[in-house]
Symmetry: C2
Subunit: 401 residues, 2 copies
């Protein structure tokens, strides 16, 4: 008989995601209350890291932060560290090392704070350093892009790229708190403004038909930079992502399923194939288009829904064709996806708008048709895509069983 | 009114700790069943990392592992990686990088295995790599020292040293499984055999008077390398540690309390002051002696219990005096301890054998007397330590209030 002790326990994680405007206005108490509420220090220590991309649009950010900290009894241990923004920040191992070094040098402990202000890539990189210093110091994330506010910046992951693979090194580590300041969105350039909406389309497609219809109605307003519309999109998308993490039963992804990664296997690969010229959200928009077309070709998603999906992506302003979708090595994205998730490939496809389902293989021949379909659609600018022949639909339908 | 979403969820962690002998005997199915039970691969992939210290005593370990893997349909993706044993392995950042590289190169995914075989330091270092690759691949730990089998190797932490600080970089990440193979203990040198018993004394003192009495009765047998006695010590100590993690309510140490670190603040510092010449368990034995004497000096632990504690440590064979205990920088260990835990210093002391309590400051003048006391005791070899004058006890008692 085997002698063993079965160890079993659960760990409770809690954090708040705040939605506000102008968090550094002296009368905005969100950050101050977050820092002071569970601190035993009179002037809690805080190390700040800011995305360089943000500084150019908000050059007075460091001085505003200093004023705010002085006013609210927060001990800024050093001037803000400025790090490059965008995916590049995740490709430079010296950057998390610098942050670890600063955490050491300035005595940031498990009950002190690291404040990370910037896009998703900066939050991911700083998050890894914060999660591994002393096995975790308190990280307050201030996501400043649409993508970071509605998805990457509010979740439980961090990471950097390595060996040519996205997020190869990282941990699951919930933040201490997240502050979504809508005012930052107004200084985004058009590409960053738009890119994050792809994640809203994604989660609407797999979870919430009503939200998809809202996106349909708002697509032109979003393209015209309507602040109110964007706030509603971010708020709802964040809510759906947070609910998924909270209720889907596998926040740390111990299983193989990753429903929120609809459209992502191709997207991750396209980011690499374009040397990250394509932003994550832009790549996700293409991934959504591809997997939606494929869902239609295998006989699931109907043509009307497919047309709506492509039309929304179009109206928001996404470019749905890049030459890299025709690169045969696109399919390496499937292998990398499987490896990252572990063992069994699990890809989410669409039954209808608002309802996803999972498959464990992708027919590459049919996917080649999918790619051709998207190319034709994107380049001819046709409003409605060509319908499938019955024959193809029949062949494809068999794949799902 | 603030707009916020409060996120709250719990994550369930499970793993088994097996106690066995000769795990690589072909008819021992513990490892094979662990690898196959929740795998979808016919021949699950496994990357192995072995402590060099173990190979010298068990030169046939790699070939035995190969035979075992072949017999039990385990795909060893590469010959075992051999890494230096002991604390040095945690001071070399290239080592976890090498393991990450191998995890990438050999396609170890979240449902494949890393098998780490060795002392606590090797398990800590390999654990960090395994926990951060793909945000966590399955780690099977095979602790091969007493210390690793009864404490470090069965818990939820990993880490490496940085900036001259122990475990500065690490994560909380439970293993996939732990296999304690008692046969490895027989090849330990005397220092390693003995060192790990310090953690058993520690947990007995703060949690389990009956176990302490067992250790008193077994001290000479342990010093004489009695295998049966050691198995019982390891089994009970592991059980107490696992129970603490499971039931004390803070497995990932989000609070400040660390009752299991009785004797450890001085121990961590002594390891550094002796350039890791002192093994962790040897340093812990000294730390236990110091904090027990201090507990007595402040009027808590009675003299009879203190004598018993010092006598047990002596009988097991621990050297309780090293010149470094007189180094004034010993007290930097308190600051580092506070910083690592976060904010408030929390040190466990003893009320009586089997019962710890917490204090939040240490009186350095009184601790200087503690050090002198231990030095006198250790160097004169007196069986019973000198008693305190009433005056000192009176002064000291006030400290606890």
């Amino acid at each position: 008989m085997q002698d063993l002790i079965h160890q079993s326990f659960s760990v409770q994680f809690e954090y708040s995601v705040f939605f506000t405007e102008k968090m550094l206005a002296l009368d905005n108490v969100v950050l101050a209350e977050t820092v002071h509420s569970r601190s035993r220090q009179d002037r809690p220590k805080m190390l700040t890291v800011i995305d360089a991309g943000l500084i150019s649009a908000n050059p007075d950010l460091p001085s505003k932060l200093e004023q705010y900290a002085a006013h609210h009894q927060i001990n800024l241990v050093a001037p803000p560290m400025i790090v490059p923004g965008g995916e590049a920040v995740k490709n430079e191992p010296a950057l998390p090392d610098n942050i670890l070094q600063a955490i050491d040098r300035f005595g940031i402990c498990r009950h002190s704070y690291v404040l990370a202000v910037g896009g998703g890539a900066v939050l991911d990189m700083v998050g890894l350093a914060a999660a591994t210093a002393h096995r975790g110091v308190r990280l307050i994330r201030v996501p400043t892009t649409v993508l970071a506010q509605n998805d990457a910046g509010i979740g439980v992951k961090n990471g950097i790229n390595a060996f040519g693979k996205k997020n190869f090194i990282g941990t699951f580590c919930p933040p201490y708190a997240v502050i979504n300041d809508f005012a930052f969105l107004q200084t985004l350039d058009m590409r960053d403004w738009r890119a994050g909406v792809a994640e809203a389309v994604k989660i609407a497609l797999i979870r919430d038909a009503e939200f998809f219809h809202f996106l349909e109605d708002s697509a032109h307003a979003l393209a015209a930079r309507d602040h109110g519309a964007m706030k509603m999109v971010v708020r709802r998308c964040a809510e759906l992502h947070l609910r998924h993490i909270r209720t889907a039963g596998d926040p740390f992804e111990l299983g193989s399923a990753r429903p929120l990664d609809f459209g992502h296997w191709a997207a991750h690969r396209l980011e690499i194939l374009t040397s990250y010229e394509l932003k994550h959200g832009e790549a996700v928009a293409i991934g959504i288009a591809l997997d939606s077309i494929y869902s239609h070709l295998i006989g699931c998603l109907d043509a009307k829904d497919l047309r709506k999906i492509l039309a929304v992506l179009n109206a928001i302003g996404f470019r749905l064709y890049v030459p890299e979708i025709e690169d045969p090595s696109l399919f390496e994205g499937l292998a990398q996806f499987r490896e990252h998730l572990g063992g069994v490939l699990t890809v989410t496809l669409l039954d209808s708008i608002g309802r996803g389902f999972e498959v464990h293989e992708i027919d590459q021949a049919l996917y080649a048709r999918t790619i051709k379909y998207l190319k034709d659609y994107a380049l001819t600018g046709m409003v409605s895509p060509p319908r499938l022949s019955m024959e193809t639909a029949g062949v494809a339908h068999a794949h799902r069983a």
